[in-house]
């Protein structure tokens, strides 16, 4: 495997073809393959079940043609025994396979595809290069229907009664992107039961899709037939008002749900981990990533259906839990790599060595490598050239170290593949020879030359010479750059003492890091104090009490109540925050910040709230059970202040909460009539089971739409609720003794915190994470993290998971004594700087500040720890007083001038 250079010759020569699972069977691949072009590791593997040699005993073509002898047919499977302190299960899910169910016609009709197949059809890197066409006849589709809940919310057919949580959003995404591909004429339609866009910014995406012409039809399609030989499909469905419709579509996409991966279930069973009735790994709401077995943790879709950000949150939470489990052994098995002392090159004239790699035949087969090397030898300051077969191979690397020493080289140029994959390797090599890593330069003569000009050998050679000349000219004036690191204060400051803040604090303290909690109110607990049970029925108050006790008594945790933050400064590893308690000010030094400022249910003036005593909100009924004695009917109204113009987001947890409470009322008072007036029931994931249970218990669900909201009026002996029933197509009047409102969840006031730490918030004042999918608890600036409702409305288990994730991410900073930062940073020349402040304005990372210098006014100052090296400051400075290390104006221009 170390020898494979991913040249692809083996796959070219391999005579055995098979279906390509990565492309969902829509394309063919060879028996020796990489799953996709960007695969990591980028190494070819043999599919034993398809390989002619393994199946029939002869062929070995790949072995013959492999230029690096990287193929070893004698390799055997072997068992490896590992001793580890902890295990994290993240083996994920399998998309539901609809072939078993003939009603979907997936196996029979070519133009019925699954959503995963459609992803590959859409992908520019997919089998059709992103060109959408029908599999039956290659025609571009004009109309596509998406069918939701295939393999989800369906006990009769597929045994998966849960909601898969993600399909509504991905169907919208696919329809929007398909529309981008196919243009204005394209008509996408999504057939759904409830539209579940409960994630952050999802509702806005849904609204945008509607305005872009995606048709949403609340119905389940019951019959799919082919209308003609071309494969056009006919769908029969009944609309909400009872009308039977028959409509033609060019393609149907089945929005398939999630099932636990079979191999994952097997692994879980082998490890003795308990599964829940749906074969997901069983967890508790209070310890959302702990399995039934101590030391074994779970994250992602193996624990239950969920989207990418939630999976990433749990991944970090599981790392945090494993970190707590293994805290005493931290750092015992990891080794730091050491390098020989760096030689000084400052005073010596450049002695450049140029290594022109053949890369087997990838470069050498097209460009004239000896000619390129000979050309390089003639360039000024070049004292040595060589043409290795594979510059990256182990032996070539060792030889390079020797040559650098023997030839006393002080700059190295490698003309080969691309610095994006190989620069770190060669930098390590020259460091092994005692040179600073930044005395290295690469010329990209494979990816951007021979591979893309393979038919023009002479031109490719000319270009390679030019690229080498540019690299050499740049190398001439490269300078050594010392490592840059900053110390880390191994403690955290946590803003907010709710369940998220406390969980984050405890999770850090249990790993041995100090934490300070700053809470505005007089006691810990936050919004969780109002909630009695999680949706799985676990007791929150009991957990909260234990948590407050542990936090209050933990030697590593300091709690500041009735306190506010008045000033903050610093950067990752080195923050200073000033906290005011009464009249006293505490200056706290800390390495990271976790923002857990929480949120609360909003108040409303709709539906007689505050005007009539029988109108309550959220957990009022739960907390005051006496309000339910002798009550004949209770009406829950959902989406009060959510999903409207003022708050264009879904508050995520209200459907589950109301459904849970409705069941509770039905269980305690079976004779009470319970109604839930809703827009879409969003009991995502396994919460769907509650929805089903509520219907079984006789809770009446009536859908309303935003333009026909229910009306609550005072009646002689209670309240009258008028609502238009879309199924009966008429207005109903419900007499209610209690009306309970699920008002929108809004973030606690956070402008001050946002301003002090320069943190972005979205239009609805929720904090904005660094990346919606991949960095759901990080802020864009290093060392700052977010969790709980401050980020978006979420349930207790989700808040706990995100708090643990924030602690896990924070631990990646706090575990170190110093942080290595890329030294390719901005550098201000203070003699030229006039302190105009333009750089401070434009820096996207807050990495340049203005500092007053005695007698000289203001001057710009770099905060290297925050600098990402983008160079915007350097290219904008009116006085050209800023330069970038390793990308100095002169270094870039050296290459530019050498280009022609």
């Amino acid at each position: 495997m170390d020898k494979c250079i991913a040249c692809g010759t083996c796959a070219e020569k391999c005579p055995a073809k098979t279906t390509d699972a990565f492309n969902e069977g829509l394309a063919k691949r060879k028996a020796i393959y990489v799953p996709y072009a960007q695969a990591v590791p980028l190494k070819y593997a043999i599919d034993k079940n398809r390989c002619i040699y393994f199946q029939k005993g002869k062929c070995r073509a790949c072995e013959k043609f492999c230029p690096t002898n990287a193929i070893n047919f004698d390799d055997k499977e072997k068992d490896i025994t590992l001793t580890v302190g902890s295990v994290i299960l993240t083996a994920g899910f399998t998309p539901f396979n609809p072939d078993r169910f003939d009603n979907y016609q997936h196996a029979k009709f070519p133009n019925v595809v699954t959503s995963m197949e459609f992803e590959r059809i859409l992908s520019a890197g997919g089998p059709f290069g992103g060109h959408i066409h029908r599999l039956s006849d290659g025609q571009e589709p004009r109309k596509i229907a998406w069918l939701q809940c295939v393999g989800s919310r369906d006990l009769n057919r597929c045994d998966n009664e849960y909601c898969s949580s993600v399909c509504c959003m991905y169907a919208i995404k696919e329809s929007v992107i398909a529309k981008e591909h196919l243009g204005a004429d394209f008509e996408p339609a999504i057939f759904f039961m409830d539209m579940r866009t409960h994630g952050k910014d999802f509702e806005k995406y849904y609204e945008r899709a509607k305005s872009q012409g995606v048709r949403f039809i609340r119905s389940r399609v019951h019959t799919i037939t082919e209308t003609d030989a071309s494969g056009t499909l006919n769908l029969v469905y009944v609309t909400e008002s009872g009308e039977r419709v028959s409509e033609e579509f060019d393609m149907v996409v089945l929005s398939v749900g999630m099932e636990p991966a079979a191999s994952a279930m097997e692994a879980a069973k082998t490890l003795g981990v308990e599964l829940n009735p749906y074969h997901f790994v069983k967890t508790s709401d209070m310890t959302p990533v702990s399995t039934s077995r101590e030391g074994i943790f779970v994250a992602g879709a193996l624990q239950g259906p969920k989207d990418i950000p939630q999976s990433v949150v749990e991944a970090s939470a599981a790392a945090c839990s494993a970190g707590i489990h293994l805290a005493s052994a931290r750092g015992t098995l990891v080794k730091e790599k050491t390098f020989p002392a760096e030689q000084s090159v400052q005073d010596d004239a450049p002695r450049i060595g140029v290594f022109v790699c053949n890369c087997g035949i990838n470069i050498g087969g097209i460009a004239d490598v000896p000619a390129v090397a000979a050309y390089a030898r003639e360039l000024g300051n070049v004292v040595f050239t060589e043409e290795p077969l594979f510059a990256c191979s182990q032996d070539a690397q060792e030889k390079m170290v020797e040559i650098i020493r023997e030839q006393k080289l002080n700059r190295v140029v490698v003309a080969a593949c691309t610095p994006r994959t190989h620069e770190p390797l060669f930098q390590e090599t020259i460091r092994n020879a005692g040179l600073n890593a930044y005395l290295f330069e690469m010329a990209n003569i494979r990816n951007q030359c021979t591979w893309v000009h393979s038919a023009e050998k002479e031109k490719a050679t000319e270009k390679a010479k030019d690229l080498v000349r540019m690299a050499v000219q740049r190398a001439n004036i490269l300078e050594p750059i010392p490592d840059l690191s900053v110390g880390v204060n191994k403690s955290a400051l946590i803003v907010g003492g709710g369940i998220a803040g406390m969980t984050a604090a405890i999770s850090l303290a249990d790993q041995g890091f100090a934490a300070s909690i700053v809470e505005k109110s007089s006691s810990l607990g936050g919004a969780a104090r109002d909630v009695l049970h999680t949706w799985r029925g676990e007791n929150i108050q009991e957990h909260l009490k234990k948590l407050v006790d542990r936090v209050s008594n933990h030697p590593q945790i300091t709690v500041f109540t009735q306190s506010e933050i008045v000033d903050a400064s610093g950067f990752v590893g080195n923050f200073e925050t000033r906290v005011k308690t009464g009249t006293e000010i505490h200056a706290i030094q800390h390495g990271v910040v976790i923002v857990a400022t929480g949120g609360q249910a909003s108040v409303t003036d709709e539906y007689l709230y505050g005007k009539h005593p029988a109108v309550t909100r959220w957990h009022d009924l739960e907390q005051n059970p006496e309000l339910l004695t002798g009550v004949g009917s209770v009406v829950f109204i959902q989406c009060v202040g959510s999903r409207n113009d003022q708050r264009p987001y879904c508050s995520r947890i209200c459907c589950t909460s109301s459904v849970y409470q409705a069941i509770d009322i039905k269980e305690k008072h079976p004779d009470t009539d319970v109604f839930i007036l809703y827009r879409d029931i969003r009991t995502f994931g396994e919460r769907e089971v509650l929805y089903k249970k509520a219907r079984e218990k006789g809770v009446v669900f009536i859908r309303y739409s935003l333009n026909k909201k229910p009306v609550v009026t005072e009646a002689a002996d209670g309240l009258d609720v008028r609502v238009f029933d879309p199924i009966l197509q008429k207005e109903l009047i419900i007499h209610a003794d209690r009306v309970n409102l699920a008002t929108a969840i809004e973030p606690s006031p956070n402008e001050d915190i946002a301003a002090l730490y320069k943190l972005p918030v979205n239009a609805e004042k929720f904090f904005m994470e660094a990346h919606a999918k991949l960095r759901p608890v990080d802020f864009a600036s290093d060392g700052l993290f977010v969790c709980g409702i401050a980020h978006y409305p979420k349930s207790i288990d989700e808040s706990i998971a995100q708090a643990m994730a924030a602690a896990g991410r924070a631990a990646t900073v706090l575990a170190r004594t110093s942080i290595q930062i890329s030294p390719l940073v901005s550098q201000v020349n203070r003699d030229l700087c006039i302190g105009c402040g333009l750089c401070t304005d434009i820096c996207p990372f807050g990495a340049i500040i203005q500092e007053e210098v005695d007698g000289k006014g203001f001057k710009a100052k770099n905060i290297s720890a925050s600098c990402k090296g983008c160079g915007l400051c350097a290219s904008s400075c009116p006085k050209k007083a800023i330069d970038m290390l390793h990308f100095r104006d002169a270094q870039i221009l050296a290459a530019v001038c050498a280009a022609a």
């Binding site: 990565f22 994290i88 993240t90 992602g300 990891v334 919606a772 999918k773 896990g808």
Partner: protein
């Protein structure tokens, strides 16, 4: 959790987006990580996706 026998390493089962994140976080916190994946490349299902909402970023 007895101190003497605690081993400072972790096994992550599955190389999708979740497994990769867990592995990175553990490695960056000072633990040795074994990441096992049944297919020849890490990336999981997410690598198969064309783009992701709400930003329509490419999922690579």
């Amino acid at each position: 959790m007895s101190n003497k026998t605690t081993v400072g390493s972790v096994l992550v089962v599955g190389g999708g987006i979740t497994g990769m994140q867990s592995a990175l976080d553990m490695a960056e916190s000072g633990y040795y990580v074994y990441l096992i994946e049944e297919s020849p490349a890490i990336g999981g299902v997410m690598a198969q996706l064309d783009k992701t909402f709400p930003t329509n970023d490419c999922s690579m």
